[in-house]
Amino acid sequence: MAEDPYKVLGVARDATPEAIKKAYRKLARQNHPDLNPGKPEAEARFKAASAAHDLLSDPERRARFDRGEIDAEGQERPPPRPAGGWRRHAEAPEGGRYDPFAESGFEAGDFGDLFADILARQRAAETAPRPGRDVAYRLSVPFLSAVLGATEQLVLPDGRQLSVKIPPGVVSGQSLRLRGQGAPGRNGGPAGNAVIELEVEDHPLFRRDGFDLHLDLPVTLKEAVLGGPVTVPAPAGPLRVTLPAGSDTGRQVRLRGKGVAAEGSRPAGDLLLTLRVVLGPPDPALEAFVRDWTPQKPFDPREAMDDTP
């Protein structure tokens, strides 16, 4: 349960919007996590102040809170404020990108010159008739759609729907371009493009490795020893596969062309099964057999470990 937002900001219940904003700015200045690295209590105070400000700066929600209709956390929670994101990057090794002391690193104004030409050309281009802005969207792609290719629907903020053709083999971070689906052009220029950044979801069974897929396949002791046909889940539907006899846990079986679907001149990837022997519930008959069983070729599976204690 969040604290009383008026207390958090230290203002009276009849404070003016300006007073609330001022109190919030003061707290934000003192406690912003990016300005207070290494002080988690500052981050907590900042989050509390942000939540309190979110609630009290909206006249409608403030009135509802005053009437007791919503609690201090608000009925619909505001989206989490991502403050503090800079600190995580700046304290990690990649923070060297903005290191003013590094020899080959960052010096204010330095790389600005480097791009002066590019920036000038980009600006000059803008006075001419120019195409509309590209508008970026993110689209979450189900794992199997990225493997087999599919058409996914993207719902735009204005309610329009775009059909996005996903070619097989896309990966997270890749973006697709839909011509003319961006912002309208200026000075008679053409409309911009929709740039769609893809995020491929994970799959509970399959794992991608380039264009190959990996699947851990549990097998019974009998299937491992004798081999034989089993049914295996595959992206395009179950497959009937004949396992080789005498398979250990860890044995790989390669199903050619059953991975990521082919596209253009790129051939389809493979589906690699990694067998995992599962004994299942205890079985008295199996126990009796193993107890009386003398292997024809006794061996020590841990032999190779002797050299590496």
Binding site: R87, H89, E91, Y98, A108, G112, I118, V135, A136, V195
Partner: protein, 84 residues
């Protein structure tokens, strides 16, 4: 890696001209791939920080550059001290 359009579209109402201004003023880094400017995840957070300094804390352009420069020095020193 992302292009200027993708970076810009991550923030509502962010004008590409603002981004170019920050790059020109040395507040934001970019890498050049031919004629295209590309950005990394850390640059996204940099933009978020700049926007927060400008909008939430109401910093003017010159104060903002000063604060960023001080922050960069603090974080560089903290990294050297190996603290977290």
């Amino acid at each position: 890696m992302m292009t200027l359009e993708v970076l810009c579209a991550r923030f509502e109402g962010l004008d590409p001209e603002d981004l170019r201004g920050w790059i020109g003023a040395g507040l934001l880094r970019a890498d050049a791939e031919g004629e295209t400017l590309v950005f990394q995840e850390i640059d996204v957070e940099r933009v978020r920080l700049i926007l927060e300094l400008r909008e939430t804390l109401a910093l003017e352009e010159e104060a903002l550059a000063l604060v960023l420069s001080l922050l960069d020095q603090i974080y560089a020193l903290r990294r050297r001290l190996g603290e977290s």
